[in-house]
Protein backbone atom coordinates (compact mmCIF):
# COMPACT_ATOMS: atom_id res chain seq x y z
CA UNK A 1 0.00 0.00 0.00
CA UNK A 2 1.51 3.32 -0.98
CA UNK A 3 0.86 6.94 -0.20
CA UNK A 4 -0.79 8.46 2.77
CA UNK A 5 -3.88 6.61 3.91
CA UNK A 6 -6.37 8.10 6.25
CA UNK A 7 -8.00 6.30 9.10
CA UNK A 8 -11.37 6.98 7.55
CA UNK A 9 -10.51 4.86 4.53
CA UNK A 10 -9.57 2.01 6.78
CA UNK A 11 -12.88 2.05 8.54
CA UNK A 12 -15.01 -1.00 8.02
CA UNK A 13 -18.71 -0.57 7.67
CA UNK A 14 -20.04 -1.63 11.04
CA UNK A 15 -20.08 -0.49 14.63
CA UNK A 16 -17.58 2.28 13.77
CA UNK A 17 -16.53 3.00 17.33
CA UNK A 18 -13.73 5.13 15.95
CA UNK A 19 -15.76 6.77 13.19
CA UNK A 20 -15.53 10.25 14.66
CA UNK A 21 -11.98 10.07 15.97
CA UNK A 22 -10.99 13.10 13.93
CA UNK A 23 -14.33 14.90 14.11
CA UNK A 24 -13.89 18.13 16.03
CA UNK A 25 -15.54 18.71 19.38
CA UNK A 26 -17.42 15.44 19.77
CA UNK A 27 -17.50 16.17 23.50
CA UNK A 28 -20.06 18.87 22.73
CA UNK A 29 -23.48 17.34 23.19
CA UNK A 30 -25.06 19.08 20.21
CA UNK A 31 -22.25 17.98 17.90
CA UNK A 32 -22.46 14.43 19.20
CA UNK A 33 -26.25 14.32 18.91
CA UNK A 34 -26.08 15.56 15.32
CA UNK A 35 -24.05 12.42 14.69
CA UNK A 36 -26.51 10.07 16.34
CA UNK A 37 -25.43 10.09 19.99
CA UNK A 38 -28.17 8.96 22.39
CA UNK A 39 -30.44 7.79 19.55
CA UNK A 40 -29.98 4.27 20.89
CA UNK A 41 -30.91 5.32 24.41
CA UNK A 42 -33.94 7.24 23.16
CA UNK A 43 -35.07 4.21 21.19
CA UNK A 44 -34.52 1.78 24.06
CA UNK A 45 -36.48 3.89 26.55
CA UNK A 46 -39.36 4.30 24.11
CA UNK A 47 -39.55 0.81 22.63
CA UNK A 48 -37.79 -1.80 24.77
CA UNK A 49 -38.08 -3.21 28.25
CA UNK A 50 -34.80 -3.74 30.13
CA UNK A 51 -35.10 -7.47 29.48
CA UNK A 52 -35.41 -6.82 25.77
CA UNK A 53 -32.23 -4.73 25.75
CA UNK A 54 -30.35 -7.54 27.48
CA UNK A 55 -31.89 -9.97 25.00
CA UNK A 56 -30.68 -7.96 21.99
CA UNK A 57 -27.16 -7.73 23.41
CA UNK A 58 -27.18 -11.44 24.18
CA UNK A 59 -28.39 -12.21 20.66
CA UNK A 60 -25.68 -9.97 19.18
CA UNK A 61 -23.03 -12.01 21.05
CA UNK A 62 -20.86 -9.09 22.12
CA UNK A 63 -17.78 -10.83 23.45
CA UNK A 64 -16.01 -8.93 26.24
CA UNK A 65 -13.43 -6.68 24.65
CA UNK A 66 -11.22 -6.33 27.72
CA UNK A 67 -9.63 -9.66 26.96
CA UNK A 68 -11.63 -12.46 28.51
CA UNK A 69 -14.17 -12.57 25.67
CA UNK A 70 -17.09 -13.37 27.97
CA UNK A 71 -20.45 -12.59 26.31
CA UNK A 72 -21.68 -9.26 27.69
CA UNK A 73 -25.38 -10.16 27.49
CA UNK A 74 -24.87 -13.28 29.55
CA UNK A 75 -22.90 -11.33 32.12
CA UNK A 76 -25.79 -8.86 32.41
CA UNK A 77 -28.28 -11.69 32.80
CA UNK A 78 -26.52 -12.86 35.99
CA UNK A 79 -27.60 -9.68 37.80
CA UNK A 80 -30.55 -10.46 40.05
CA UNK A 81 -33.88 -8.96 39.03
CA UNK A 82 -36.03 -6.85 41.30
CA UNK A 83 -35.35 -3.95 43.65
CA UNK A 84 -32.09 -3.21 45.44
CA UNK A 85 -29.02 -1.17 44.56
CA UNK A 86 -27.00 -2.49 41.62
CA UNK A 87 -23.94 -1.05 39.91
CA UNK A 88 -22.23 -0.93 36.57
CA UNK A 89 -18.48 -0.46 36.72
CA UNK A 90 -16.72 0.28 33.46
CA UNK A 91 -13.14 -0.90 33.41
CA UNK A 92 -11.18 1.94 31.82
CA UNK A 93 -7.96 1.13 33.66
CA UNK A 94 -6.27 0.05 30.41
CA UNK A 95 -2.74 -0.55 31.65
CA UNK A 96 -1.65 -3.57 29.64
CA UNK A 97 1.58 -2.73 27.79
CA UNK A 98 0.73 -1.92 24.18
CA UNK A 99 -2.94 -1.16 24.85
CA UNK A 100 -4.22 2.31 24.03
CA UNK A 101 -7.60 1.92 22.32
CA UNK A 102 -9.84 2.82 25.26
CA UNK A 103 -8.01 6.09 25.77
CA UNK A 104 -8.63 7.17 22.21
CA UNK A 105 -12.31 6.17 22.38
CA UNK A 106 -12.85 8.18 25.56
CA UNK A 107 -10.89 11.21 24.41
CA UNK A 108 -12.46 11.47 20.97
CA UNK A 109 -16.03 10.31 21.56
CA UNK A 110 -16.92 10.33 25.25
CA UNK A 111 -20.68 10.43 24.66
CA UNK A 112 -20.50 7.04 22.93
CA UNK A 113 -19.31 5.47 26.17
CA UNK A 114 -21.81 7.41 28.29
CA UNK A 115 -24.69 6.28 26.08
CA UNK A 116 -23.51 2.67 26.33
CA UNK A 117 -23.31 3.04 30.11
CA UNK A 118 -26.90 4.30 30.21
CA UNK A 119 -28.12 1.40 28.06
CA UNK A 120 -26.37 -1.20 30.20
CA UNK A 121 -27.68 0.34 33.42
CA UNK A 122 -31.20 0.44 32.00
CA UNK A 123 -30.90 -3.24 31.06
CA UNK A 124 -29.68 -4.46 34.45
CA UNK A 125 -31.58 -1.98 36.62
CA UNK A 126 -28.55 -0.12 37.93
CA UNK A 127 -29.01 3.48 39.03
CA UNK A 128 -25.32 4.15 39.63
CA UNK A 129 -22.36 3.59 37.37
CA UNK A 130 -18.64 4.12 37.90
CA UNK A 131 -16.17 4.58 35.09
CA UNK A 132 -12.86 3.56 36.63
CA UNK A 133 -10.17 5.26 34.60
CA UNK A 134 -6.44 5.03 35.18
CA UNK A 135 -4.95 8.09 36.85
CA UNK A 136 -2.63 8.91 33.98
CA UNK A 137 -5.56 9.39 31.56
CA UNK A 138 -6.25 12.89 32.77
CA UNK A 139 -7.44 14.28 29.45
CA UNK A 140 -9.79 11.35 28.87
CA UNK A 141 -11.25 11.75 32.36
CA UNK A 142 -11.84 15.44 31.72
CA UNK A 143 -13.60 14.65 28.47
CA UNK A 144 -15.86 12.13 30.21
CA UNK A 145 -16.72 14.58 32.97
CA UNK A 146 -17.58 17.27 30.46
CA UNK A 147 -19.76 14.81 28.55
CA UNK A 148 -21.54 13.69 31.73
CA UNK A 149 -22.24 17.27 32.81
CA UNK A 150 -23.83 18.17 29.48
CA UNK A 151 -25.76 14.88 29.22
CA UNK A 152 -27.11 15.43 32.71
CA UNK A 153 -28.22 18.96 31.84
CA UNK A 154 -30.12 17.53 28.86
CA UNK A 155 -31.87 14.90 31.03
CA UNK A 156 -29.97 12.08 29.29
CA UNK A 157 -28.63 11.22 32.75
CA UNK A 158 -30.01 12.01 36.19
CA UNK A 159 -33.57 11.48 37.36
CA UNK A 160 -36.45 10.30 35.16
CA UNK A 161 -34.34 10.20 32.03
CA UNK A 162 -36.26 11.43 28.98
CA UNK A 163 -39.49 11.24 30.94
CA UNK A 164 -39.08 7.56 31.84
CA UNK A 165 -38.81 5.97 35.28
CA UNK A 166 -35.11 5.32 34.71
CA UNK A 167 -32.62 7.17 36.97
CA UNK A 168 -28.87 7.10 36.59
CA UNK A 169 -25.82 8.84 38.07
CA UNK A 170 -22.44 8.25 36.46
CA UNK A 171 -19.20 8.82 38.37
CA UNK A 172 -15.75 9.05 36.81
CA UNK A 173 -13.33 7.50 39.29
CA UNK A 174 -9.67 8.13 38.61
CA UNK A 175 -7.02 5.67 39.73
CA UNK A 176 -3.52 6.68 40.73
CA UNK A 177 -1.12 4.34 38.95
CA UNK A 178 -1.52 0.60 39.42
CA UNK A 179 -1.87 -2.07 36.72
CA UNK A 180 -3.60 -4.36 39.19
CA UNK A 181 -6.66 -2.07 39.19
CA UNK A 182 -7.55 -3.49 35.78
CA UNK A 183 -8.28 -6.76 37.60
CA UNK A 184 -11.97 -6.46 38.22
CA UNK A 185 -12.09 -7.21 41.93
CA UNK A 186 -8.99 -5.08 42.63
CA UNK A 187 -10.80 -2.32 40.77
CA UNK A 188 -13.74 -2.66 43.14
CA UNK A 189 -11.39 -2.54 46.13
CA UNK A 190 -9.86 0.63 44.73
CA UNK A 191 -13.23 2.36 44.45
CA UNK A 192 -14.04 1.25 47.99
CA UNK A 193 -10.94 3.06 49.25
CA UNK A 194 -8.93 -0.05 50.04
CA UNK A 195 -5.57 -1.15 48.72
CA UNK A 196 -6.40 -2.57 45.30
CA UNK A 197 -5.78 -6.25 45.86
CA UNK A 198 -7.85 -8.94 44.16
CA UNK A 199 -10.61 -10.69 46.09
CA UNK A 200 -11.06 -14.42 46.16
CA UNK A 201 -14.07 -15.66 44.22
CA UNK A 202 -16.81 -16.72 44.80
CA UNK A 203 -18.74 -14.59 45.46
CA UNK A 204 -18.55 -13.16 41.95
CA UNK A 205 -19.24 -9.46 41.37
CA UNK A 206 -22.66 -10.22 39.85
CA UNK A 207 -23.67 -11.43 43.32
CA UNK A 208 -21.55 -9.27 45.63
CA UNK A 209 -19.51 -6.61 43.84
CA UNK A 210 -19.14 -2.92 44.59
CA UNK A 211 -20.07 -2.20 48.24
CA UNK A 212 -21.26 -5.81 48.36
CA UNK A 213 -24.01 -5.20 45.78
CA UNK A 214 -24.61 -6.93 42.42
CA UNK A 215 -22.24 -5.36 39.90
CA UNK A 216 -21.62 -5.63 36.17
CA UNK A 217 -18.03 -4.97 35.14
CA UNK A 218 -17.40 -4.39 31.44
CA UNK A 219 -14.58 -2.95 29.39
CA UNK A 220 -14.91 0.46 27.67
CA UNK A 221 -14.99 -1.01 24.18
CA UNK A 222 -17.62 -3.58 25.11
CA UNK A 223 -19.92 -0.85 26.38
CA UNK A 224 -19.13 1.43 23.42
CA UNK A 225 -20.49 -1.27 21.09
CA UNK A 226 -23.94 -1.22 22.67
CA UNK A 227 -25.52 1.97 21.24
CA UNK A 228 -25.12 0.91 17.59
CA UNK A 229 -26.49 -2.55 18.39
CA UNK A 230 -29.60 -1.06 19.96
CA UNK A 231 -30.06 1.33 17.03
CA UNK A 232 -29.54 -1.28 14.31
CA UNK A 233 -30.33 -4.64 15.88
CA UNK A 234 -28.42 -7.84 16.60
CA UNK A 235 -28.59 -9.20 13.04
CA UNK A 236 -26.96 -6.06 11.68
CA UNK A 237 -24.14 -6.44 14.20
CA UNK A 238 -23.61 -10.11 13.45
CA UNK A 239 -22.97 -9.32 9.78
CA UNK A 240 -19.55 -7.98 10.80
CA UNK A 241 -16.59 -10.02 11.96
CA UNK A 242 -16.91 -13.81 11.87
CA UNK A 243 -19.90 -16.00 12.77
CA UNK A 244 -18.44 -16.84 16.19
CA UNK A 245 -16.69 -13.49 16.76
CA UNK A 246 -19.13 -10.84 15.56
CA UNK A 247 -18.39 -7.17 15.20
CA UNK A 248 -15.26 -5.09 14.91
CA UNK A 249 -12.31 -4.79 17.26
CA UNK A 250 -10.03 -1.86 17.83
CA UNK A 251 -6.58 -3.38 17.34
CA UNK A 252 -3.77 -1.45 19.03
CA UNK A 253 -0.64 -1.95 16.95
CA UNK A 254 2.78 -1.04 18.37
CA UNK A 255 6.45 -2.01 18.41
CA UNK A 256 8.36 -2.52 15.18
CA UNK A 257 5.86 -1.27 12.62
CA UNK A 258 6.09 1.81 10.44
CA UNK A 259 2.66 3.03 11.39
CA UNK A 260 1.63 2.11 14.92
CA UNK A 261 -1.85 3.09 16.05
CA UNK A 262 -5.43 2.03 16.62
CA UNK A 263 -7.17 0.25 13.77
CA UNK A 264 -10.82 -0.68 14.03
CA UNK A 265 -11.27 -3.71 11.80
CA UNK A 266 -13.56 -6.65 11.37
CA UNK A 267 -12.71 -9.40 13.84
CA UNK A 268 -10.75 -12.10 12.07
CA UNK A 269 -8.19 -9.97 10.24
CA UNK A 270 -4.86 -11.75 9.95
CA UNK A 271 -1.76 -10.50 11.73
CA UNK A 272 -0.09 -10.28 8.33
CA UNK A 273 -2.68 -7.82 7.01
CA UNK A 274 -2.64 -5.88 10.25
CA UNK A 275 1.14 -5.52 10.27
CA UNK A 276 1.86 -5.11 6.56
CA UNK A 277 -1.25 -3.44 5.20
CA UNK A 278 -2.28 -1.23 8.09
CA UNK A 279 1.00 -0.96 9.97
CA UNK A 280 2.83 -0.61 6.64
CA UNK A 281 5.40 -3.23 7.55
CA UNK A 282 8.55 -3.27 9.63
CA UNK A 283 11.08 -0.38 9.59
CA UNK A 284 14.10 -1.22 7.47
CA UNK A 285 12.09 -4.08 5.96
CA UNK A 286 13.48 -6.33 8.63
CA UNK A 287 11.72 -9.63 9.24
CA UNK A 288 9.10 -10.08 11.95
CA UNK A 289 10.55 -12.25 14.67
CA UNK A 290 7.56 -12.78 16.91
CA UNK A 291 4.24 -11.11 17.75
CA UNK A 292 2.66 -10.55 21.14
CA UNK A 293 -1.08 -10.68 20.43
CA UNK A 294 -2.32 -9.20 23.71
CA UNK A 295 0.25 -6.96 25.31
CA UNK A 296 2.61 -8.48 27.81
CA UNK A 297 0.09 -11.02 29.01
CA UNK A 298 -0.65 -13.62 26.34
CA UNK A 299 1.51 -16.40 24.90
CA UNK A 300 3.36 -15.32 21.75
CA UNK A 301 2.65 -16.01 18.08
CA UNK A 302 5.72 -16.99 16.01
CA UNK A 303 6.47 -15.41 12.64
CA UNK A 304 5.39 -18.50 10.71
CA UNK A 305 1.81 -18.11 11.99
CA UNK A 306 1.13 -14.55 10.83
CA UNK A 307 -1.83 -15.73 8.76
CA UNK A 308 -3.75 -16.60 11.90
CA UNK A 309 -7.10 -14.78 11.88
CA UNK A 310 -7.25 -12.58 14.96
CA UNK A 311 -10.70 -13.47 16.25
CA UNK A 312 -11.71 -15.10 19.52
CA UNK A 313 -11.25 -18.69 18.24
CA UNK A 314 -8.20 -19.05 16.04
CA UNK A 315 -5.47 -17.80 18.40
CA UNK A 316 -6.56 -20.56 20.80
CA UNK A 317 -5.31 -23.13 18.30
CA UNK A 318 -1.84 -21.66 18.87
CA UNK A 319 -2.28 -21.80 22.63
CA UNK A 320 -2.86 -18.07 22.97
CA UNK A 321 -5.73 -15.57 22.96
CA UNK A 322 -6.96 -12.48 21.15
CA UNK A 323 -7.16 -10.80 24.56
CA UNK A 324 -7.26 -7.04 24.28
CA UNK A 325 -5.87 -7.24 20.70
CA UNK A 326 -2.90 -5.08 21.63
CA UNK A 327 -0.46 -6.38 19.08
CA UNK A 328 3.23 -5.74 19.78
CA UNK A 329 5.57 -6.62 16.91
CA UNK A 330 9.21 -7.52 17.51
CA UNK A 331 11.56 -7.70 14.55
CA UNK A 332 14.68 -9.79 14.04
CA UNK A 333 16.94 -7.21 15.72
CA UNK A 334 15.50 -7.97 19.16
CA UNK A 335 17.34 -10.01 21.78
CA UNK A 336 14.60 -12.24 23.14
CA UNK A 337 16.06 -12.74 26.64
CA UNK A 338 16.40 -8.97 27.07
CA UNK A 339 12.84 -8.33 25.86
CA UNK A 340 11.57 -11.08 28.16
CA UNK A 341 13.39 -9.49 31.09
CA UNK A 342 11.68 -6.18 30.33
CA UNK A 343 8.27 -7.86 30.26
CA UNK A 344 8.85 -9.67 33.55
CA UNK A 345 10.13 -6.48 35.17
CA UNK A 346 6.71 -5.04 34.37
CA UNK A 347 4.85 -7.83 36.15
CA UNK A 348 7.24 -7.73 39.09
CA UNK A 349 6.73 -3.96 39.38
CA UNK A 350 2.94 -4.31 39.16
CA UNK A 351 2.40 -7.40 41.33
CA UNK A 352 0.22 -6.16 44.18
CA UNK A 353 1.99 -8.40 46.70
CA UNK A 354 -1.04 -10.22 48.04
CA UNK A 355 -0.19 -13.72 46.76
CA UNK A 356 3.25 -15.02 47.65
CA UNK A 357 3.81 -17.03 44.43
CA UNK A 358 3.35 -13.94 42.27
CA UNK A 359 5.11 -11.46 44.56
CA UNK A 360 8.17 -13.66 45.10
CA UNK A 361 8.05 -15.62 41.85
CA UNK A 362 8.18 -12.61 39.56
CA UNK A 363 11.18 -11.36 41.55
CA UNK A 364 12.94 -14.69 41.09
CA UNK A 365 12.22 -14.58 37.37
CA UNK A 366 13.70 -11.08 37.14
CA UNK A 367 16.82 -12.15 39.05
CA UNK A 368 17.43 -15.21 36.88
CA UNK A 369 16.79 -13.31 33.64
CA UNK A 370 19.10 -10.45 34.69
CA UNK A 371 21.80 -12.99 35.45
CA UNK A 372 21.39 -14.61 32.05
CA UNK A 373 21.35 -11.28 30.21
CA UNK A 374 24.53 -10.24 32.02
CA UNK A 375 26.27 -13.37 30.75
CA UNK A 376 26.38 -14.80 34.26
CA UNK A 377 23.72 -17.46 33.92
CA UNK A 378 24.28 -21.11 34.67
CA UNK A 379 22.88 -24.03 32.64
CA UNK A 380 20.33 -24.90 35.36
CA UNK A 381 18.80 -21.42 35.09
CA UNK A 382 16.54 -22.38 32.19
CA UNK A 383 14.93 -25.17 34.18
CA UNK A 384 14.76 -22.82 37.16
CA UNK A 385 12.79 -20.32 35.08
CA UNK A 386 10.28 -22.98 34.06
CA UNK A 387 9.98 -24.28 37.61
CA UNK A 388 9.24 -20.82 38.95
CA UNK A 389 6.56 -20.42 36.25
CA UNK A 390 4.95 -23.64 37.43
CA UNK A 391 5.01 -22.32 40.98
CA UNK A 392 3.08 -19.18 39.99
CA UNK A 393 0.53 -20.18 37.35
CA UNK A 394 -2.77 -21.37 38.75
CA UNK A 395 -1.62 -20.78 42.34
CA UNK A 396 -2.66 -17.14 42.67
CA UNK A 397 -5.92 -15.23 43.11
CA UNK A 398 -5.88 -13.32 39.84
CA UNK A 399 -4.67 -13.45 36.29
CA UNK A 400 -1.64 -11.19 36.80
CA UNK A 401 0.41 -14.13 38.02
CA UNK A 402 -0.83 -16.33 35.20
CA UNK A 403 0.04 -13.61 32.68
CA UNK A 404 3.50 -13.13 34.12
CA UNK A 405 4.66 -16.60 33.12
CA UNK A 406 3.66 -16.24 29.44
CA UNK A 407 6.73 -14.34 28.24
CA UNK A 408 9.09 -16.79 29.95
CA UNK A 409 7.31 -19.88 28.68
CA UNK A 410 6.82 -18.52 25.15
CA UNK A 411 10.37 -17.27 24.79
CA UNK A 412 11.77 -20.58 25.96
CA UNK A 413 9.42 -22.45 23.64
CA UNK A 414 10.41 -20.56 20.50
CA UNK A 415 13.83 -19.06 21.25
CA UNK A 416 15.51 -21.36 23.76
CA UNK A 417 18.69 -21.24 21.66
CA UNK A 418 19.09 -17.53 22.38
CA UNK A 419 19.18 -18.19 26.10
CA UNK A 420 21.55 -21.11 25.66
CA UNK A 421 23.93 -18.96 23.62
CA UNK A 422 24.10 -16.44 26.48
CA UNK A 423 24.89 -18.97 29.19
CA UNK A 424 28.62 -19.70 29.57
CA UNK A 425 29.33 -23.43 29.46
CA UNK A 426 25.89 -24.40 28.23
CA UNK A 427 26.24 -27.83 26.61
CA UNK A 428 26.09 -27.14 22.87
CA UNK A 429 24.95 -30.62 21.90
CA UNK A 430 23.63 -33.75 23.49
CA UNK A 431 26.48 -35.15 25.60
CA UNK A 432 28.13 -38.09 23.86
CA UNK A 433 27.25 -41.47 25.31
CA UNK A 434 29.93 -42.66 27.61
CA UNK A 435 31.93 -45.39 25.93
CA UNK A 436 31.64 -48.68 27.70
Amino acid sequence: MTGAITFEQLMPAGPNLTEYRHAPNMVDLDVARSRGAYDGLTKALAEYTPEQVTGIVMDATVLGRGGAGFPAGRKWSFIPKGPGQKYLTVNADESEPGTFSNRELMETNPHLLIEGVALCCYAVGASRAFIYIRGEYIHAANQLNRAITSARAANLLGDKILGSEFNLEVFVYQGAGAYICGEETALLESIEGNRPMPRSRPPFPAVAGLYGKPTVINNVETIANIPAIIRNGADWYKAFGTPTSPGTKVYSLSGHVRRPGNYELNLGISLRDLIYEYGQGVPGDRAVKVVLPSGAAAPWIPADALDTPMDYDNPRKLGTILGSASVIVMDESVSIPHATLRLIEFFNHESCGKCTPCREGTLWLVKALKRICAGEGVPDDLQLLLNVCDSIAGKVLCALGDFAVSPVQSSLKYFRHEYEAMIPGYPTAEPALAAD
Binding site: F100, A176, A178, N194
Partner: protein, 197 residues
Protein backbone atom coordinates in the same frame (compact mmCIF):
# COMPACT_ATOMS: atom_id res chain seq x y z
CA UNK B 1 0.56 22.51 58.40
CA UNK B 2 -3.18 22.28 58.04
CA UNK B 3 -4.91 21.63 54.75
CA UNK B 4 -5.33 24.70 52.58
CA UNK B 5 -8.89 26.11 52.29
CA UNK B 6 -9.02 25.19 48.58
CA UNK B 7 -8.13 21.59 49.41
CA UNK B 8 -10.77 21.43 52.14
CA UNK B 9 -13.38 22.75 49.74
CA UNK B 10 -12.32 20.26 47.07
CA UNK B 11 -12.49 17.33 49.50
CA UNK B 12 -15.95 18.44 50.60
CA UNK B 13 -16.99 18.56 46.96
CA UNK B 14 -15.56 15.07 46.32
CA UNK B 15 -17.24 13.68 49.44
CA UNK B 16 -20.61 15.13 48.41
CA UNK B 17 -20.32 13.73 44.88
CA UNK B 18 -19.63 10.13 45.87
CA UNK B 19 -22.07 7.68 47.43
CA UNK B 20 -19.66 6.42 50.17
CA UNK B 21 -17.10 8.29 52.32
CA UNK B 22 -14.40 5.64 51.92
CA UNK B 23 -14.54 6.07 48.15
CA UNK B 24 -13.62 9.71 48.66
CA UNK B 25 -10.26 8.77 50.20
CA UNK B 26 -8.24 8.24 47.01
CA UNK B 27 -9.49 11.31 45.13
CA UNK B 28 -9.09 13.40 48.29
CA UNK B 29 -5.47 12.30 48.68
CA UNK B 30 -4.89 13.34 45.09
CA UNK B 31 -6.49 16.70 45.77
CA UNK B 32 -4.29 17.18 48.84
CA UNK B 33 -1.20 16.21 46.87
CA UNK B 34 -1.77 19.09 44.51
CA UNK B 35 -0.81 21.46 47.36
CA UNK B 36 2.90 20.70 47.17
CA UNK B 37 3.24 17.81 44.76
CA UNK B 38 3.61 15.17 47.45
CA UNK B 39 1.92 13.98 50.64
CA UNK B 40 3.58 14.60 54.01
CA UNK B 41 2.37 12.24 56.76
CA UNK B 42 0.53 15.06 58.46
CA UNK B 43 -1.44 15.78 55.29
CA UNK B 44 -2.45 12.14 54.87
CA UNK B 45 -3.67 12.13 58.46
CA UNK B 46 -5.61 15.36 57.95
CA UNK B 47 -7.35 13.98 54.86
CA UNK B 48 -8.37 10.79 56.66
CA UNK B 49 -9.68 12.75 59.65
CA UNK B 50 -11.68 15.05 57.42
CA UNK B 51 -13.46 12.01 55.99
CA UNK B 52 -13.97 10.43 59.41
CA UNK B 53 -11.64 7.57 58.53
CA UNK B 54 -8.69 5.95 60.26
CA UNK B 55 -5.31 7.25 58.99
CA UNK B 56 -3.92 3.74 58.46
CA UNK B 57 -5.92 2.90 55.32
CA UNK B 58 -4.96 6.32 53.99
CA UNK B 59 -1.25 5.56 54.46
CA UNK B 60 -1.83 2.22 52.78
CA UNK B 61 -3.13 3.96 49.68
CA UNK B 62 -0.48 6.67 49.67
CA UNK B 63 2.28 4.09 49.74
CA UNK B 64 0.70 1.83 47.11
CA UNK B 65 -0.12 3.97 44.11
CA UNK B 66 2.74 5.21 41.94
CA UNK B 67 1.10 8.59 41.35
CA UNK B 68 0.94 9.36 45.07
CA UNK B 69 4.26 10.50 46.51
CA UNK B 70 5.19 10.21 50.17
CA UNK B 71 8.58 11.84 49.58
CA UNK B 72 9.22 15.30 48.13
CA UNK B 73 9.23 15.47 44.34
CA UNK B 74 10.33 18.12 41.92
CA UNK B 75 8.23 20.60 40.04
CA UNK B 76 8.12 18.16 37.17
CA UNK B 77 7.65 14.43 37.66
CA UNK B 78 9.09 12.73 34.60
CA UNK B 79 7.77 9.22 34.19
CA UNK B 80 9.65 7.66 31.30
CA UNK B 81 7.84 4.62 30.01
CA UNK B 82 10.08 1.57 29.97
CA UNK B 83 7.48 -1.03 28.90
CA UNK B 84 8.09 -3.17 25.83
CA UNK B 85 6.64 -0.94 23.06
CA UNK B 86 8.74 2.00 24.28
CA UNK B 87 11.74 -0.24 25.00
CA UNK B 88 11.67 -1.44 21.39
CA UNK B 89 11.82 2.21 20.30
CA UNK B 90 14.74 3.21 22.49
CA UNK B 91 13.33 4.23 25.88
CA UNK B 92 16.46 3.06 27.71
CA UNK B 93 18.59 5.52 25.75
CA UNK B 94 16.12 8.30 26.59
CA UNK B 95 16.25 7.41 30.29
CA UNK B 96 20.03 7.39 30.21
CA UNK B 97 20.07 10.79 28.52
CA UNK B 98 17.79 12.23 31.20
CA UNK B 99 19.86 10.63 33.93
CA UNK B 100 23.00 12.07 32.38
CA UNK B 101 21.52 15.55 32.14
CA UNK B 102 19.98 15.63 35.61
CA UNK B 103 22.44 13.55 37.66
CA UNK B 104 19.55 12.67 40.00
CA UNK B 105 20.04 11.55 43.58
CA UNK B 106 18.96 8.12 44.83
CA UNK B 107 15.33 9.29 44.96
CA UNK B 108 15.46 10.37 41.32
CA UNK B 109 15.47 14.10 42.17
CA UNK B 110 17.65 16.61 40.35
CA UNK B 111 19.95 18.76 42.48
CA UNK B 112 17.98 21.94 41.78
CA UNK B 113 14.75 20.20 42.79
CA UNK B 114 13.15 20.90 39.43
CA UNK B 115 12.77 17.32 38.20
CA UNK B 116 11.99 13.90 39.62
CA UNK B 117 12.75 10.97 37.34
CA UNK B 118 10.50 7.95 37.89
CA UNK B 119 10.12 4.55 36.26
CA UNK B 120 7.04 4.51 34.08
CA UNK B 121 5.16 1.42 32.98
CA UNK B 122 3.00 1.50 29.87
CA UNK B 123 1.11 4.80 29.82
CA UNK B 124 -1.06 3.91 26.84
CA UNK B 125 0.54 6.12 24.20
CA UNK B 126 2.57 3.52 22.28
CA UNK B 127 2.16 5.15 18.84
CA UNK B 128 4.37 7.93 20.23
CA UNK B 129 7.02 5.63 21.69
CA UNK B 130 9.38 6.31 23.30
CA UNK B 131 7.36 8.67 25.46
CA UNK B 132 7.11 10.01 28.96
CA UNK B 133 4.60 11.63 31.24
CA UNK B 134 5.46 15.18 32.34
CA UNK B 135 3.06 15.83 35.21
CA UNK B 136 -0.36 15.75 33.49
CA UNK B 137 0.86 15.50 29.90
CA UNK B 138 2.22 12.85 27.57
CA UNK B 139 5.25 13.75 25.48
CA UNK B 140 6.66 11.72 22.59
CA UNK B 141 8.25 10.40 20.51
CA UNK B 142 11.38 11.39 22.41
CA UNK B 143 14.94 11.23 21.17
CA UNK B 144 17.99 10.92 23.39
CA UNK B 145 19.80 13.66 21.44
CA UNK B 146 17.19 16.32 22.13
CA UNK B 147 16.66 15.53 25.83
CA UNK B 148 18.93 18.37 27.11
CA UNK B 149 16.94 20.83 25.01
CA UNK B 150 13.64 19.36 26.23
CA UNK B 151 14.68 19.72 29.85
CA UNK B 152 15.88 23.26 29.27
CA UNK B 153 12.54 24.28 27.77
CA UNK B 154 10.69 22.77 30.73
CA UNK B 155 13.01 24.58 33.11
CA UNK B 156 12.38 27.93 31.42
CA UNK B 157 8.70 27.22 31.35
CA UNK B 158 8.54 26.54 35.08
CA UNK B 159 10.30 29.80 35.85
CA UNK B 160 7.23 31.64 34.62
CA UNK B 161 4.64 29.79 36.66
CA UNK B 162 3.70 28.46 40.04
CA UNK B 163 6.59 26.75 41.72
CA UNK B 164 6.11 23.92 44.12
CA UNK B 165 7.64 20.77 45.47
CA UNK B 166 11.36 20.71 46.10
CA UNK B 167 11.90 24.14 44.61
CA UNK B 168 13.45 25.83 47.57
CA UNK B 169 12.62 29.46 47.19
CA UNK B 170 9.99 30.71 44.80
CA UNK B 171 11.38 34.21 45.30
CA UNK B 172 14.33 33.19 43.14
CA UNK B 173 12.15 33.20 40.07
CA UNK B 174 9.57 35.59 38.69
CA UNK B 175 6.58 36.22 40.96
CA UNK B 176 4.62 32.97 41.37
CA UNK B 177 1.26 34.66 40.95
CA UNK B 178 0.90 34.17 37.22
CA UNK B 179 -1.58 31.39 37.78
CA UNK B 180 -1.08 27.68 37.53
CA UNK B 181 1.09 26.37 34.76
CA UNK B 182 -0.57 25.50 31.55
CA UNK B 183 1.52 22.77 30.10
CA UNK B 184 0.01 22.56 26.67
CA UNK B 185 2.25 25.24 25.18
CA UNK B 186 5.36 23.84 26.73
CA UNK B 187 4.52 20.41 25.49
CA UNK B 188 3.89 21.53 21.96
CA UNK B 189 7.16 23.37 21.81
CA UNK B 190 9.24 20.44 23.03
CA UNK B 191 11.60 18.98 20.48
CA UNK B 192 10.44 15.55 19.50
CA UNK B 193 12.11 12.82 17.52
CA UNK B 194 12.04 13.21 13.79
CA UNK B 195 9.23 11.33 12.15
CA UNK B 196 10.43 7.82 11.90
CA UNK B 197 11.02 6.06 8.65
Amino acid sequence: MALEPETIAEIERIRAALPEARSALLPSLKAAQSERGWLPQETIKDVAEMLGLDPNPAYMLATFYTMLHTEPVGHYVLEVCRSLPCYLRGSDQVTEAIRGALQPDEHGNSVDGMFSLKIGECLGDCPHAPMMRVNDDFVGPLAAETIPETLEILRRRAAGGRVRGLMADPADGPPPNEGPLTFSNAIQSLPLARVRE
